[in-house]
Symmetry: D2
Subunit: 309 residues, 4 copies
């Protein structure tokens, strides 16, 4: 296989304040399906186009935000090797046994990265029951609903020491920088979008003074028309809109941002170019950040800059 | 980088009967841009979203069809290594010096594969002048035209010994099979769609009695709306339509097929899922080929099956 | 009001062989809603964007086809006047009392037109419960489903003496011809598309040897994307596809044709220009009928020409 | 014909500060075509889907804004009758001879309405050279460009005594109110959207203290995808964006607002329902105006409320 090593971001555990309100939001509006619940009350969800047992977990907590983001890797051998290389890089690691807190998942390597986020890595996940068909496949097993989110796609992480987290992603995880937002005066990088494949990004990492913060989780939609449908559903269902529908300058993606009932920011997005590792990195001057993020209005709003969970 | 080795199909040299008619077709209708012409009269073209010097070459000849398909690889070292492995696999190789017949291209490894097609591999290509912007990029440098083809995307190759060509793609090129059309009775595979990345396919290979044949070259469009625009342009410009607009069962892509003035079949397509190498292969029974290719009508027409160049 | 007299086609009673199969088709796939059933077992349906009590009626019968098509007119006075003018034109009339076979409908004038079809006219219809909102309206009361048919839109009628039916539509109903298909050699008109408003057509009338035949009933969708979604639902639900997705030359509409379980042809269509009565009539030569109907393939298939109910 | 009397808004003469900048804007970006220029230097434009000689006129002036809006009516007899009825209503009239300031136009009745705007009415206009085809028509004569504006569609007028202008539109012009924005407390109407056909509006009239003001001129696009393309062109060409892409609650239309180089506000919009005069009027409470105009953000921005020309 020509996509090797880390394959993609494939798991997110999110903290929510009101569990049933969150389930209703992610199932009825975003369009994920509930796969099951754990004994400790967490809710397991997935997109209709994903093969894995689940990709998105809701946990009731006092404070919103993310517990961890998970990445699928090519093999268990790679996982062992990654543990060695991560320690050599200087980050502490730990292991989670198979089928403990994440039903259907094999053993997981967990790493605390310098921005204060937890990254999980795993090679083996059971196939979900409701997943893309394999023999004479129809385009779906059952009709998608709500915003028709196909999969959990990416997250934008805020935290300090972002340069070190990005260096870990590049040097150890072999992720490619796709686009970069330069610091004022071009002195350093404020935000890096990173991918393991053709995807626009698996994660983006932005320099911020508080550790472990989440700016948004992103779900993939089909196209601009699906973004419009998402906008309609946001308005009709009184979901709190953040920004959009619009296009990003960065990645050229089509997007709309909104909040779940606990204040975690969601993005549903579509389009964008296909990244390859031989492409030059695209860079944005700091004073062009507005155009880079909000390609149409060209002005970042305060809420977009300051609200994280 | 997590996409390693062979990166993607990135070059096609096509034989056409009437050069100017072909240029007009690929530029004014498909929407490629002319980059330049060689001393021996070949015309170099590219899509607006490609970085490389060119990706599509038209050569005047007595018989339509393809001269070769080219693949970009990660590095010149990989190229050297690929030569060794290809010979070990049992296929004859040759080298083409840099900047000879393909201006802007580094040295190329050429391989004659068992189906009678020529595969070229290269690591270095000059950046084109008219290509995606790198600093505070707009979504295009100049407005796309015609069908707005973004890039040369893939080709469907017809020839004998397809099993061997597919084995070479898998074992040496490390391409992943995405979908397969089974032979009647499930005894073997008639057609395999192969990719090096998230792309649905870089090539597909179908068993056929004559060697070196081309079923179609594919160009990428943005979405279903762009497929509709392509259909309008086909009708208004009296282009010979083959089939569509429609959806494929295979890859779930949205598509329309038509012919260039020399009878080479073109496809413009959009959508489809993102392939990852950990995905199970999707398979089609032979009697479901109609649904697999023509998802709406579910019937293959004779022209689609029999006309190749 | 500047749209006067006959407002639009607004009611269709259709004969089906298997009532429940038909209800499932029109509700689950086309996306109409069931409003109620009559004592004699007919099923009343409507589109989510219609105000009237119902617009589409299914009646179980031995032979598929249409019972009648109904038109809403501006006032009861106009209805009385229309009766006089219709008799003066030479067609027999009859009256149906309010709230008899069509619950919620005021009195209806019925006219047998020369092609053997029955036209009903009515001025008063109760508002449906589930209809567009009137105060601070959301874009729908409940999310549309299936193909998201907005309303019953038009019908294409086949029968003899079409010239006389068209003359009645023009002279008495004051409908405007939008487009015409000329007979071979330009000697007369084979088909006329007629409208009372900006709509592309309320009815079209085509010369045919058997009286009272129905070629298709048409439902309005939002746009080309909705046509694609209709195509997907047709394939996934094993609905019998006739032709499309495609564009018409006539009206420039975007369309897909398919059959209900009783063999009545359906069209879901979108787009097209807005007609005004000061526009010149657009005409098609007989040998261009293929392009006029099937703008992409430019060839009429036999099934499209010969299958009527 | 069932659309009678006043047919539609069909002419706008706009004042601009820099004529060539305005021509470039309306031709290269909005996508109108230049038809010709008058001896006094005005520029005549039209959309690719309009039949009339021209529909949009640019006049260089010291102050931006509108000179007048014109309406096409069914016949010259109707025009004579309209003059009598307008005087009886109490508004002063005047006549402009054929082929004077508007080449290709027959005689025009001009009326000064109570909000301080000038309405022109005309029955006869020469057909344009570049217009929809009439025999075996293709969907366009030459490929549309820029935003692909199909036609001048409507204008939103600001002025005092709006109730009287609306009463004239209803009682004399027989226009139908489609939607209404109620005053605070429901005491009166602040804005009325009025149509002569299925169109969402030919004009809207909003109560304002200064007479004869223009909020925006509207052009019709095909669908949501065309709105997205308009947004891209706005950003790439550094056009001043006002709001959108978004949906209106009022009319349910899809829209984007921006400014021409002289500060006149433009709207390109698509979609919306088809109005019929038997539909109940949809009403908006004053405190829901944000949702009515900006269906997604639900908040009017100051610029939208205060900037008029």
């Amino acid at each position: 296989m020509a996509i090797t090593g880390v394959l993609r971001s494939a798991l997110m555990q999110l903290r929510v304040l009101d569990l049933e309100a969150a389930v209703s939001h992610y199932v009825n509006i975003v369009g994920l399906d509930e796969v099951g619940r754990t004994e400790d009350g967490r809710v397991l969800l997935k997109g209709y186009d994903e093969f894995e047992h689940h990709s998105f977990v809701l946990r009731k907590a006092e404070v919103a935000g993310m517990d961890f983001i998970g990445f699928k890797v090519e093999s268990d051998d790679f996982l062992s090797d990654l543990a060695v290389k991560t320690e050599a890089f200087g980050l502490p690691i730990a292991w989670v046994d198979a089928n403990t807190d994440q039903p259907g998942f094999g053993r997981r390597l967990t790493v605390q990265v310098p921005t204060g986020h937890r990254f999980d890595f795993f090679a083996d996940v059971e196939l979900a029951e409701d997943r893309p068909m394999l023999r004479n496949p129809d385009i779906w097993q059952k009709e998608p609903h709500g915003m028709r989110a196909q999969c959990f796609d990416h997250a934008l992480l805020y935290g300090p020491n972002s340069t070190e987290t990005v260096r870990y992603c590049k040097e150890v995880l072999k992720m490619a920088p796709v686009e970069e937002l330069l610091a004022p005066g071009g002195d350093g990088i404020v935000c890096t979008w990173l991918t393991s494949s053709n995807r626009m990004h698996d994660i983006a990492v932005l320099e911020y003074d508080q550790p472990g913060k989440l700016h948004h989780v992103g779900f993939k939609l089909e196209d601009w028309n699906a973004i419009g449908n998402a906008a309609d559903l946001i308005s009709i269902n009184d979901v709190s809109l953040d920004a959009g529908p619009m296009r990003h300058g960065v990645t050229r993606g089509l997007t709309i941002y909104f909040f779940d009932p606990s204040g975690n920011r969601n993005e549903t997005y579509a389009g964008g170019y296909a990244h390859f590792p031989d492409m030059p990195v695209r860079q944005w001057d700091f004073d062009q950040a507005g155009k880079g993020i909000f390609y149409y209005t060209r002005e970042l709003n305060d809420r977009f800059l300051s609200v994280v969970t």
